[in-house]
Symmetry: C2
Subunit: 201 residues, 2 copies
């Protein structure tokens, strides 16, 4: 399988981490989002929504959306719970990640640490709004992790991979994780999983 | 099962429509989001993220996130494809809905048509930004529907329900669907499905 990838994108990292932990080799094609390479006609023919990650299967089908790719790779492996309710809880946290977490924590990181000169293009009030909503998401995670070691099924699943990707890099967006003791302990548990790789790997 | 519900929320409507089409009875508990009833201690104990829809199972477990609830209700029914890749494509469009569609199309509708006086609380530039991103999402849908009748597996699935909920009500947020011919034909196909119910039902 082939992954259209931007290396410092947390959404792409999720896919690399999942594939590595499952022992699935990926042919990596790097795409420069900052140079608008996801907006070319060639790329848009593969993903009309113009984003990475994008998975290409061996028979030439395309699958975008990081968490849908995770589900595709992880189904029927230990990374997805067998129980229907627990499987839905895993998806619950993956939808939470895309709706309540990524748009603030990943977006703040993009403008502060990924896009050159990005900090000068955003207002103080915009950054403050991202920080407020991002801290709300971290607060919800902290509350949950005070009672359980992982997000779903009481074990390491795709939900942990999805939430780890941008949470562990939240500092790049100006988030201080010091107050989130349970979140920090969970980050360490994720990093201690067999075959963990870093975003840079 | 019990559904904590706000009747004019598209996210809640998705769940009512899915349950009705599957013949699953739901005990509906209406929650007034505008009166902050999702922010009380009692409600936050059920869903720390303070949102509806929220599903309560017969044995007292809670499941938030509309699209995770849809997956829980729909798994192993005709609303979810049996093929692994098609199931992932269904999820792809459900993640697209929550990331690229709902935050613009549903949010514009909320401020223009749901929250009393909401129009006066938002700026022209904020509304224009929602309209720009919302039209991008509608454009991606239009392009896809020019080649296929439904979003995944070439048949009616949870992805259609998830995207129908706010697309059919996009006019409430100031979106004109006239230019989206394929989208309008798809809306009619969704409405022609057996046991379809409207948001008001």
């Amino acid at each position: 399988m082939r992954l259209y990838n931007m290396h410092n994108s947390g959404n792409c990292y999720k896919v690399r981490l999942t594939a590595h932990q499952l022992g699935l080799p990926l042919d990596i094609v790097n795409v420069d989002v900052l140079a608008q390479e996801t907006r070319t006609g060639t790329f848009l023919a593969k993903n009309p929504n113009g984003r990475v990650p994008l998975l290409e299967t061996d028979d030439g089908r395309f699958l975008p959306e990081s968490n849908a790719i995770l589900f595709y790779l992880g189904e029927n492996t230990p990374l997805v719970p067998e129980d229907a309710f627990e499987r839905a809880q895993m998806l619950q946290w993956m939808f939470f990640e895309q709706y309540s977490h990524e748009p603030y924590i990943a977006v703040a990181r993009f403008w502060l640490s990924i896009k050159p000169g990005g900090r000068d293009e955003i207002s103080e009030s915009q950054l403050a709004a991202w920080h407020e909503r991002g801290h709300q998401a971290l607060g919800v995670m902290e509350k949950h992790l005070m009672y359980t070691d992982f997000f779903a099924a009481n074990r390491y699943t795709l939900a942990d991979i999805a939430l780890y990707a941008y949470t562990h890099a939240a500092g790049d967006g100006g988030f201080d994780l010091a107050p989130y003791e349970a979140v920090r302990a969970w980050l360490a548990r994720v990093e201690a999983q067999p075959r963990h790789i870093t975003m840079k790997a």
